[in-house]
């Protein structure tokens, strides 16, 4: 019904947080203006500007594609109230319930998957020089 809106809310928050983190990392000399990391990821880990960029892309991608699916099924319309469930007062609690279960579940799963990816990526970049030295 409107489950993708929870992910949309998270995407907005993550975009704002990434923007603030990027400014901070530019000040510290960790990344440049275009977000490229200036420090060595093997020593300092992958910068948060980049990591949060991954989460942002996953969330916005999911939200856009799910919004299209909802339009396909006639649950989202391009005119007010935009969500067809809003036309029927009996449907509103059902919609909110779905947002609280499926919507939150979607946001949590994407965030958990992203968190695991960040841990694996950090481990991979920190292990690389060691592996290269062994290979040499």
């Amino acid at each position: 019904m409107a489950c993708f809106l929870v992910g949309g809310g998270e995407a907005i928050v993550v975009t704002a947080v990434r923007s603030a983190v990027k400014k901070n990392e530019i000040k510290k000399g960790v990344v440049d203006e275009s977000g490229h990391q200036l420090t060595d990821p093997a020593q300092d880990g992958i910068c948060w500007t980049r990591k949060l960029g991954w989460l942002m892309n996953m969330l916005w991608g999911g939200v856009i594609l799910l919004a299209i699916e909802h339009m396909w099924h006639g649950e989202v319309v391009p005119f007010p109230p935009f969500l067809t469930a809003m036309n029927d007062p009996a449907e509103i609690p059902v919609m909110l319930g779905e947002m609280g279960t499926v919507g939150v579940g979607m946001a949590v799963l994407v965030t958990v998957a992203w968190f695991v990816v960040t841990l694996v990526a950090d481990m991979a970049v920190k292990r690389q020089p060691e592996t290269a030295a062994k290979g040499a």
């Binding site: 892309n57 916005w60 991608g61 999911g62 856009i64 594609l65 299209i68 799963l109």
Partner: protein, 102 residues
């Protein structure tokens, strides 16, 4: 079927991103993440379907399956459009800037 087609698109985008690495000029990683994000979200939808007694993926009704498959193709196309817009807006190869200046 929408989920299956999206996972397929995500896997292909990831493989192409890997093949083109370390070049990031085409932002293929972003395309892969767009599809993975949507695939994960539809997985939750599928799990919810299982909890409610429906199937994880619709396979019993042919008409519904076909509708889902067409939706899957539309979704993949929409992902490509979103990626193309992102690519032009970011202009990582500075193609747009160069063509506008010259």
């Amino acid at each position: 079927m929408t989920l299956v087609i999206t996972i397929l698109a995500a896997a292909i985008a990831t493989a192409v991103w890997y093949a083109k690495a370390p070049s990031t000029d085409m932002r293929l990683g972003t395309l892969a993440l767009i599809y993975w994000g949507a695939a994960l979200m539809w997985c939750v939808d599928g799990i919810n379907g299982l909890i409610e007694g429906e199937g994880f993926i619709e396979i019993t009704d042919t008409a519904a399956m076909l509708d889902d498959a067409v939706l899957g193709v539309v979704v993949v196309a929409a992902g490509l459009v979103a990626w193309a817009i992102y690519l032009v807006a970011k202009d990582p190869k500075r193609v747009l800037r160069k063509s506008l200046v010259s």
